[in-house]
Symmetry: C3
Subunit: 137 residues, 3 copies
């Protein structure tokens, strides 16, 4: 059995957006009890990650880390036509994930207690983002 | 056909732990000859990677690299309640993988000659880690 | 339905190689209209990435970024027997992907407009690289 849905996320600019409950809801609706859930983002300046879901400071520190290694307006960048945060957004995307593949067990993604699925918007401007969720079982 | 197993790993603290033979054994037991093997770690301060399996110096150099870009006790980190190595562990996890998806061919994960599957423990203290292996074919 | 193909790529040394059309062709030949496409590289000094496919400056800036954080000949590296670019190649591979998992919709990988699938050769010398493509649907 294979089913596919698309999640649309209107981001408010750089930051993380928790997709966990929406993904769990898609898996539940699919009726698959044992299988896999593929989550795929159709963009190259926003990405996906599994991350600690308890303390918001983790997200802030991740932003600080990325800003240090791939700063906006880095003079080393030559791809600047789309703004000082566009090439850093591509770098951040390459360093994280475009797809996550989560085991389904007893009808839900079998995440660890502290794991959440996040969309990470890397651009400062709000964007419309599309994430495809494919459930197999 | 879909089968699922859980591997439990008692880590001895920061370092890499070779899961290759245990994963190959699960694939062999599944009887799947053509398909995919999903390996998923249920944690956010340990991760998975495919890496060169011949020279232990590669693992040491990877530790050195991560220590340079995400040092323990980094004063930039604000998520410090769980210790000076916890936020670096989250960063290292985000930069590597929570899931690997390996093609199965002729009844085994069709890795390259020099590829091994490793759990990378990023915390200094020993931890109990769980890795879910889902075989599809 | 599961099908598997192997793509062989003769790289000309460090740089990116667009695999998108070859992968789309394998998916089309498979006859799968709804499913997933797993792309897996059997090496640890070359990797895969999804990246912006329009401006070649993006690839140049990605090289510059990787050269800055993992320079060839870095004196911190002890794994040097295979040359000054070998350990940096392992680091670059660990920071990017060995496998990509792309949703198939209406008979093709449903990538975003600006997404291309690239092999990233991290060694300076030309290499023969193998990429396994597994289509499920």
């Amino acid at each position: 059995m294979i089913g596919q849905d698309v999640i649309q996320i209107a981001t408010q600019g750089r930051g993380t957006y928790d997709l966990t409950s929406e993904i769990q809801s898609i898996v539940r609706s699919s009726g698959v009890s044992l299988g896999l859930c593929n989550v795929f983002i159709r963009h190259t300046s926003a990405s996906l990650m599994l991350c600690e879901n308890a303390d918001p400071a983790v997200m802030r520190d991740l932003e600080t880390f990325m800003t240090r290694i791939a700063p906006d307006g880095d003079p080393a960048n030559t791809h600047t036509a789309e703004g000082p945060d566009d090439m850093p957004a591509h770098i951040r995307s390459v360093l994280t994930q475009a797809d996550l593949n989560l085991p389904i067990r007893e009808g839900r993604c079998d995440l660890g207690t502290w794991q959440g699925v996040y969309l990470w918007e890397h651009r400062h401007a709000p964007h419309q983002r599309k994430v495809t969720v494919t459930v197999t079982g």
